[in-house]
Symmetry: C2
Subunit: 211 residues, 2 copies
């Protein structure tokens, strides 16, 4: 038997990790993340997810700048406002937003930025792009779980993609590709820990959604 | 330590399972699937995924009929045509499509149909709906992996949602909800096994997508 982490243990401790180091990760581990991602099903088993592992400092700087330009001011304003959510008190909300801000300012230093893409036959319409979500995001989730099991931190981000033309130009993405997510990956500067979630009774019903 | 399945062992053996039995599954296991799904991250930690576990025979019959109406003729025609894909030869393609056809004809008999939903503040636009994909599908992937680890078969389907008005009416979904996927869950009639995928070199590049 293997010494790998248990499936539920991994899921219940797979916190979004944003403060990540520049310490090199063995390339074989980065490739293993992609292999894990690719085990996810895809619509009609089309297997058209594509992945780019960005480690080149100049490339990381370009992508990090797009992420910063979109998120820094936006997140700072939310921290100032001191917003809260029903299931997320002001303090823990603030800690999360501060980590987002840290990421806005330090993404270029993180060891690897992994980009989730999809290859179409021809340049995709908005509708084509959205239809691929059910194939792309299950792969991303496998990647996040695999990272956790290997002791790596990771988080799904999309801010940089709001500057979509610049984003795909930086990656020299062919016109029949679409990009979906930027996932920073590296050894965590903080600690792993359990996630906190709503009680399951609050998010499920039997047979129909009777209020 | 637990006896749970390893994370990579689960991912590499998490085949889409369509031929599923009507044998009852303990309710605690179905609820555990939802708990596992909910451990996935969500955009800004909004935790707005919602789930419906459908076991009522009349409810299952309604949803199965919508799935059948959309998929049966479509899939039959594809089996007739004998299509192949670069990574999927004619024979294995046919076996997959025959399983889809089996599901079209037998979904109402499967023990449980789990519906993945999302709760918005107000009736969502198409754009709102698409934006929730990055929160919904990671949860769905956790659910599929958890099912595999518990010895249950499951598969992500969306055919029935092409009849969207009828689909949400059957589930009495509030107008501020959207539905995303129908996941049949039950003990498998066939065997679990490894998935087959493209070699990782075919789906990844470093730093940019240089052809």
């Amino acid at each position: 038997m293997t010494a790998e982490m248990g499936i539920f243990e991994t899921m219940f401790n797979c916190r979004a990790m944003r403060r990540l180091s520049d310490q090199p990760v063995p390339q074989a581990q980065l490739v293993k993340l992609i292999e894990a991602a690719e085990q996810a099903a895809s619509g009609s088993n089309s297997q058209r997810r594509r992945w780019i592992i960005v480690r080149d400092p100049a490339q990381k700087a370009k992508l990090a700048e797009l992420n910063r330009a979109v998120s820094e001011d936006y997140v700072s304003a939310r921290i100032e406002r001191g917003e809260a959510l029903p299931h997320h008190d002001r303090e823990s909300r603030k800690r999360m937003l501060q980590a987002v801000l840290w990421l806005a300012r330090n993404m270029q230093r993180i060891h690897a930025l992994i980009i989730a893409c999809y290859e179409f036959d021809a340049p995709p319409t908005e509708q084509d792009r959205a239809r691929a979500h059910s194939s792309v995001y299950p792969g991303v989730q496998n990647l996040l779980l695999a990272a956790r099991a290997l002791g790596l931190g990771a988080v799904l981000t999309t801010y940089a993609l709001n500057r979509y033309e610049d984003f795909v130009a930086a990656l020299e993405l062919p016109s029949n590709f679409a990009a979906y997510a930027l996932i920073p990956v590296g050894y965590p500067l903080g600690k792993f820990g359990p996630v906190t979630r709503l009680a399951v009774e609050q998010v499920m019903r039997f047979d129909k959604w009777s209020i």
